[in-house]
């Protein structure tokens, strides 16, 4: 049986408990006085009934000479002597039926109507009831303690007598014992401090008298100093928990209030928790580096692959053909230039990747490779790691030979890529809702050409066009159309 006490409230110290008790008594006394005042217990009444001094004449002399006065069950205007209504009498006193007097409005204003909300003990579990019992005991509310204990016994009895229950008498008694123990634990001296010294100061005698006592003191210190603090992580029954506060039980054992994954809290002894072994700085750094490369490796491979593939397949790409003059450059020189450009392209791709990684803050030493320092060493591993190229692999890194199949591959050469010529044509920036017809109108292209070419656009540029439910073809996205689509549309301009 686990000795745990779930609690949702911060336990209070003895001093705070005493203060709470005194405050409760004060409030109670204030209420009593207020009630007595309200009912005039402390009022001084000077008049015929008390003193017997005044005469009938003096009584009349004290009565008002104007306004509405009361005579028995009737009301009469004091001046005119005419009968008046009860409302007239009430109105002159500043009160109406709609606004009854605040009869209880005495000292300190209207007496607060304190509503007492009883705890829902019936729906609490045993540990929660233990906590409530502990609190009641600490403020000396014996009646409350007895009520709660009766509820506990009732709940346990219900559980024991349930048809599906397999609770034995021993189990029942164990639960009662557990409840009592939880009460004691919850009443334990609360050490809401993470400072171990404070714990030690409260746990040890001030002046050890003998050496033996001194050693006992050290042992006591060791036993009562919590090893873990608020925020530390631990495991409880396989679940990850976080320490919220520390306790020192009356039995001298350290207990921790922990928050479980579901957000509830429990009070457990330290020996019920499993704490992860602290990682060395090296282990932490290794983990970070591992995570970094794990995240980066796919990106790197993708980019290098694009570089390689671009170099392999971009026969008509101006980048690869840079420096080639179709009119003057010999075939052999064309191949050399293209190969050189391919090497530059791959090297540049790799360089941009490496430079980006170097700049990341996870790479404090500023370099990546060469000795494995920042590429990260895995202690204990020792494989050679050489890869054997498969035929497929070989393809990827083959020297680029035009995939001609007998077709002339010399292509018109672009000049050096005009970087300035990359501003998007605003006309091809598609706003929301624009269709092909509107686009053609905007471009001053005969709209009949849209109808004639829409199917072709859909087939050639499926990323830009789609078939609508109506069967017609529309533009599938806002923003810029692909360059291919733009070129195809531009080709329709006259």
């Amino acid at each position: 049986m686990s000795e745990t006490v779930p609690t949702s409230e911060v336990p209070i110290s003895a001093d705070h408990a005493e203060l709470a008790l005194l405050e409760a008594k004060t409030a109670k006394k204030k209420f009593e006085i207020g009630q007595n005042e309200n009912f005039g217990k402390y009022d001084e009444f000077i008049g015929p009934l008390n003193s017997g001094i005044d005469s009938h004449d003096s009584y009349h002399a004290q009565r008002p000479s104007d306004g509405v006065i009361r005579e028995g069950d009737t009301f009469r205007n004091a001046e005119s002597g005419k009968f008046a209504s009860p409302d007239d009498y009430s109105a002159q006193n500043g009160s109406t039926n709609e606004q009854p007097l605040d009869y209880y409005d005495k000292v300190n204003g209207v007496t607060e109507n304190i509503e007492y909300i009883a705890p829902d003990y019936e729906n609490m579990n045993v540990p929660q009831l233990a906590l409530a019992t502990a609190k009641a005991e600490m403020i000396g509310d014996k009646a409350e303690v007895d009520d709660i204990k009766a509820i506990v016994e009732h709940l346990l009895m219900e559980a024991a007598t349930h048809p599906d229950s397999d609770m034995t008498d021993k189990d029942y008694n164990d639960e009662i014992a557990r409840f009592n123990h939880l009460v004691e634990l919850a009443k334990a001296k609360v050490l809401n401090k993470t400072d171990g010294e404070s714990v030690a100061a409260e746990a040890t005698p001030a002046e050890p008298e003998t050496a033996e006592a001194g050693s006992d003191t050290k042992e006591a210190e060791k036993a009562t100093v919590p090893e873990h603090k608020q925020g530390d992580k631990a495991e409880l029954n396989g679940a990850n928990v976080v320490i919220e506060s520390t306790f020192l039980g009356s039995n001298g054992k350290i207990a921790y209030e922990v928050t479980k994954p579901d957000g509830t809290t429990e009070l457990v002894y330290a020996d019920k928790l499993t704490f992860p072994a602290e990682k060395t700085e090296e282990e932490s750094a290794t983990e970070r580096l591992k995570l970094f490369w794990k995240k980066s490796s796919n990106f790197i491979k993708e980019k290098l692959t694009l570089g390689y593939m671009s170099a392999k397949w971009a026969v008509e790409d101006s980048i690869i053909n840079r420096g080639v003059d179709p009119l003057t450059t010999s075939f052999e020189d064309v191949e050399k230039i293209r190969n050189r450009n391919r090497i530059y392209l791959v090297a540049g791709t790799a360089a941009v990747i490496v430079a980006a990684i170097i700049l990341k803050e996870t790479n404090p030493l500023g370099h990546l490779f060469g000795g494995g320092d920042l590429a990260g060493s895995v202690p204990g591993s020792g494989s050679s790691g050489s890869e054997t190229l498969s035929a497929h692999d070989q393809n990827v890194f083959d020297s680029m030979h035009p995939d001609t199949n007998g077709v002339e591959t010399a292509t018109p050469v672009d000049q050096q890529l005009p970087v300035v010529d990359v501003a998007p044509d605003p006309a091809y920036t598609i706003p929301s809702g624009e269709g092909g017809l509107e686009l053609f109108q905007k471009l001053n292209i005969d709209t009949s050409k849209w109808g004639a070419n829409a199917e072709s656009f859909l087939n050639r540029f499926p990323q830009d066009f789609y078939r609508m439910n109506s069967g017609g073809i529309g533009i599938s996205h806002q923003g810029i159309l692909s360059q291919g689509a733009q070129d195809a549309i531009n080709a329709l301009r006259n």
Binding site: K294, L304, G348, T349, I358, V419, V420, G484
Partner: protein, 125 residues
């Protein structure tokens, strides 16, 4: 979105335009770092990216003998079987390690060319 696209401010461009500019960046960087090297070095790098296993293995043995124990290599190697492009880890590792080894001022070079590209784009806009 690719960090490089964002860094260069290319978000508003079409994918084809973005690729053209990235290719331009890579090409310029490649020209800058390779043009300062001798033919033997260029040939060595060409052999690496062409998948010459002998060159790859010997270069790594001479310059980074512990590469197989590195986290970088092991992460590059992880998932090879499931990688449709089947990029060998030692080639990818060597392709990057060689670049860094032979270009001490790599970061500055790349940053400078990126700035040039961005300046050209700003002028256009």
């Amino acid at each position: 979105m690719d960090d490089l696209i964002i860094e260069l401010g290319l978000e508003a461009l079409s994918p084809e335009q973005q690729q053209r500019i990235v290719d331009e960046l890579n090409m310029r960087v490649g020209e800058a770092i390779m043009s300062g090297l001798n033919e033997d070095q260029v040939s060595e790098y060409e052999a690496i990216i062409n998948g010459n296993q002998e060159v790859i293995t010997s270069w790594l043995a001479a310059n980074d003998p512990g590469y197989a124990d590195t986290i970088a290599y092991q992460q590059l190697a992880e998932g090879f079987e499931s990688d449709p492009d089947k990029v060998p880890a030692d080639k990818a590792y060597a392709a990057m390690a060689w670049i860094e080894k032979n270009n001490p001022n790599l970061g500055e070079t790349v940053a400078g060319i990126k700035a040039e590209i961005k300046a050209n784009l700003d002028q256009t806009v």
